[in-house]
């Protein structure tokens, strides 16, 4: 009985490890200070060029190879993350995110969203708190 209990305990521990404790994404997640440079344009409106900082968060994503990056009050992107810290995702030919974790504590990426009538670009750098 003790052996079965031990095996069950070990199995559940490994299962929980697989889901959380030793996931390769864990080294990148946490609270970050983001510095965001945003430019936006549209045919009907003014050109926007602004820089702001935001205290955001990087979290585990909805799939085993994704993370959420919350880098502004209204913007949270989900992107693929590769083992070397590369982040990239392409939503359409006009909308993509590409960047990298330079270390487990520092991230930079560019989010582009450009169409015929307007667009926006975010150049973002983040540092783990």
């Amino acid at each position: 009985m003790k052996k079965i209990f031990f095996l069950l305990l070990l199995g559940s521990l490994l299962w929980s490890c697989k889901k959380n404790l030793f996931d390769y994404r864990n080294k990148f997640i946490g609270d970050y200070n983001f510095l965001v440079h945003k430019t936006a344009w549209s045919l009907s409106g003014p050109f926007i060029d602004t820089t702001y900082s935001y205290q955001g968060r990087i979290q585990i994503g909805s799939a085993s190879d994704k993370i959420f990056i919350n880098f502004s009050e209204i913007t949270s992107m989900e992107t693929y993350i590769y083992e070397d810290g590369t982040v990239s995702i392409s939503f359409s030919p006009h909308q993509s995110l590409i960047g990298e974790f330079e270390s487990t504590k520092a991230l930079k990426f560019i989010l582009s969203n450009n169409g015929l009538g307007g667009g926006s670009n975010y150049t973002v750098s983040g540092r783990k708190k």
Binding site: N26, K27, D65, E83, S88, E100
Partner: protein, 234 residues
């Protein structure tokens, strides 16, 4: 006579005829079955890249080491089960000619994983062996598997990075990303030990072969020594 190895672990000796703790230390050379070039394959979409990232690369032989404790339980005069806890440093090295990457024009201006021309991994594994052992005179034969559970992975990446304003328009860069990861890999093994006496202590130099199931052609050839934690009765 005082034995050379006397760990004073009386508890281990409670049933010396059946149970045996030992220390095992070894060094390995990793080679490959088949060629070292990893053939590129066609993949369906961008998201499959993770499964194909070493294609087009050469893999290289490496060396490493292992050390840890084994516990053997003999349930028959000659037969037994061996398990334990082993630290295993397994290294992996993949590289391609950086000119292939430069000439392909596929690399970007960011340090993207598609720009990598060299992967250098040191996997500091915690592994559990489970082996059946059979003793025949002074030989002990083992067959089973090492189960690698957890690793502290030290990963070094060498990249091409494009800057189209420069001449030449590319430079190289490198990056290191380290951290704990769950491995869950099996390394089937066979091992042959031979009993010798060194300063009146039994030692078992051994030769072992490991095969990596996930990296299908990796073959580890290991030499080492197994030293029982035994106390001689005075």
């Amino acid at each position: 006579m005082i034995p050379l190895i006397n760990y004073g672990q009386e508890a281990f000796q409670s049933n010396q005829s059946k149970n045996q703790f030992s220390i095992q230390v070894g060094g390995y050379y990793k080679t490959f079955l088949g060629g070292k070039y990893i053939e590129p394959k066609v993949y369906k979409n961008e998201n499959d890249f993770r499964d194909h990232q070493y294609e087009g690369f050469d893999k290289f032989s490496t060396t490493g080491l292992s050390a840890g404790f084994l516990f053997s339980f003999r349930f028959h005069n000659r037969l037994g089960i061996t398990t334990g806890l082993i630290y295993f440093l397994r290294k992996e090295l993949f590289s391609k000619n950086q000119n292939d990457l430069i000439n392909s024009g596929s690399a970007s201006s960011m340090r993207d994983i598609r720009n990598v021309f060299k992967y250098d991994y040191s996997l500091n594994n915690i592994e559990f062996p489970i082996m059946v052992q059979h003793t025949l005179r002074r030989f002990t034969f083992y067959a089973g598997s090492y189960f690698a559970v957890l690793t502290y992975k030290i990963a070094k990446y060498d990249y091409i990075v494009y800057n189209y304003l420069n001449n030449p328009p590319w430079t190289t860069a490198d990056k290191e990303i380290n951290g704990f990861e769950l491995l869950l890999k099996l390394f089937p093994t066979i091992q042959i030990g031979y009993e010798v006496k060194i300063l009146n202590n039994k030692m078992y130099p051994y030769l072992a072969f490991y095969y990596a199931i996930k990296n299908k052609s990796d073959l580890y050839i290991q030499l080492g020594i197994n030293s029982p934690l035994s106390i001689k009765k005075k």
